[in-house]
Symmetry: C2
Subunit: 381 residues, 2 copies
């Protein structure tokens, strides 16, 4: 086992009706909230209203920033920072999925500086020394951002997507009501499942010896496949929604990083090039890249794949069985496994390769160079 | 899944040489530390000296409270509170196993009140509203107290052992160096393994439906048996010591309580009666009570035991196979499975039964009444 630090101060409040605790939890942190949402679905389904009521009962006034995109751009975060400063906000309340919460993290750090939030992501600005307290109400089970210190934003102009992390960016309290995800459409539910499986795999393919982490990653993947199928058949199953929601948090809240060196994340790097170029959902990109990446590195990861196969399928399953089953599963729940299925045809390959060379995603354990990009691109076609 | 809160603000610093970070971590919390230790082994092996050096470098002066017993008594905590008050301590630094850290938690809360700490455990005093910051340097892998909010103390006069919990009692930072456990004798190493397996089982026998929790409990138990055997053979195996140390933390740091209602803990209640009467190690008591408890409730838990058997042994294993294998494992690593093996003969049964009736341990899911005590006592003989 490698030396590690286990630290996660976020309070996660999980279950039916938990938003009723938001006012009480936010009250100690101030009097004014910037509320951040996406394209407005939370206005229609009553979730925004429920949060407003909580804030009002806690004597917290609020201003709304609306319109975070699903591949969130730094310009929105910068505009929201300006609004938060004008309002003299004491806190940020994010209602949405990973895009909205990741933007809220940027806003929280951007509040105390006079440069674009993008400079954090480009490592052009010094690390933040303070940030507004962040509260999140999750409406999409996928990225795990509700219980970690990471955020990913992109620049459309630069065609680049970058991650950033700071211990200041753990949400203070996150509220996860599985019933809030009943209305997530089938495809976005599937992308979320692909995302959580990918997060487990990224840490599993950190080859540091950490037996509990590897076993836990396999269990998360096994249950994600089981409840991913269940929720595909029955989107209003509370148990299926609740399990998927908790698995997505558990896949990236630090429990899998114990005894490891931070995961591989080469697949994430490749995927970021796809979603920044074609505006596809992150999870949809991941379900395309991972099977190709596994086939490309097959000879180096056969032992680890066999472990996964035996723990998620059956005791005699082979490494290749796992890849085949993963593709079958992704196809069943309707998330793409080939670029062509996402409407990205062969004439775009040169564009993808250029972007890969420009952004140069590396992978921490399975190093990526141009020859790897070519091979993986071929396998994704 | 039941509604739950996942919250654990303790920072766990794990690995070789991590005590070198203690000074830096403690410095922001004040200038004066009460250092708490047990019977003095940390004086001989250099750990106390290493901590003193860290405190000195961080410009923190200290006073030492020495002599916490292995089944810790509240009188020691009260005496240490008086010493801390006289010294005007800003923090408590515990160096030891569960007994020392549990005592440090009592001291931290007791510092701000004018009654015995025991009144917290008896629920005679209101909950603490503040507590000194707690730092821990763990020297025995077992109880998980280094990363949770619980503490257990006892009264020898009352022949009673009680637990207490408060969010104020999470250690700020805990330092876990597996090399510090190399010198733990074989029997105490085994008791620690029994303790961590028992913690996993207590939560596993919370019958609320929480699939990731159940799967994780099974993985912790499987690995505890694997590395428990390994460390028994090779006490200086870093990987074995590191795995046991992390498994003990993971078994009771909240990750298994997600989606559950707090665990059963009937076995812990019964064990407390044994260790308070006969001053045996808590883990040694648990390895005696659990097999008997499983046989007593066999018909109600056969399905759950079969799940455990299949995930920890092999796919065709039966419920009874698990009990037999657990007893075989405990015997192999030299922790007792019968009262007689702990030197408690049949003439003591009446005394045990009286103490059980007096303290009346219940179990949250598998309710215990006098008839159960009798049957379990018979099975433990």
């Amino acid at each position: 086992m490698e030396n590690f630090v286990a630290y996660n101060p976020t309070k996660l409040v999980f279950g039916k009706g938990v938003v009723a605790q938001l006012g009480k939890e936010a009250q100690p942190y101030g009097k004014k909230a910037l509320v951040v949402i996406g394209k407005g679905s939370v206005k229609k389904n009553g979730i925004l209203e429920a949060v407003y009521q909580q804030l009002t009962e806690a004597d917290i006034s609020y201003t709304l920033y609306e319109g975070i995109k699903s591949n969130p751009i730094y310009e929105d975060a910068d505009a929201a920072v300006a609004q938060a400063k004008a309002f003299q906000a004491d806190m940020v309340v994010a209602i949405g999925g990973g895009s909205v919460i990741d933007s809220a993290k940027a806003i929280a750090a951007g509040y105390y500086v006079n440069h674009s939030v993008w400079d954090f992501y480009l490592r052009k600005a010094p690390a933040p020394t303070k940030a507004l307290p962040i509260f999140s109400v999750l409406t999409l089970a996928a990225t795990g951002t509700e219980m970690n210190m990471f955020t990913v934003l992109q620049s459309d102009a630069e065609k680049a997507k970058h991650g950033y992390g700071s211990p200041l960016l753990y949400p203070k309290v996150s509220f996860l009501d599985p019933e809030y995800t009943y209305s997530v459409p089938q495809n976005y539910t599937a992308y979320g499942v692909a995302d959580l499986i990918a997060h487990s795999l990224e840490q599993f393919f950190d080859t540091s010896n950490s037996p509990l982490s590897d076993a836990s990653a396999a269990e998360i993947i096994r249950l994600a496949m089981q409840y991913g199928r269940e929720v595909h058949k029955n989107p209003h199953s509370y148990e299926a929604r609740a399990n998927i929601m908790w698995l997505a948090t558990a896949a990236l809240n630090g429990s899998l990083s114990a005894g490891k060196l931070g995961g591989d994340f080469g697949v994430h790097g490749i995927e970021h090039c796809l979603s920044v170029l074609f505006d596809i959902a992150h999870g949809a990109g991941l379900s395309i890249v991972y099977p190709a990446w596994m086939r490309h590195f097959y000879s180096q990861i056969e032992g680890k794949l066999t472990f996964l196969a035996q723990r998620t399928l059956h005791t005699n399953a082979t490494a290749n069985d796992f890849i085949v089953e993963l593709e079958k599963f992704f196809t069943e729940i309707n998330t793409p496994i080939r670029l062509s299925e996402a409407g990205i045809d062969r004439e775009k390959h040169a564009l993808i390769l250029d972007n890969l060379k420009q952004n140069n995603p590396k992978g921490r354990f399975f190093k990526l160079i141009e020859a790897d990009y070519n091979s993986i691109l071929h396998l994704m076609a």
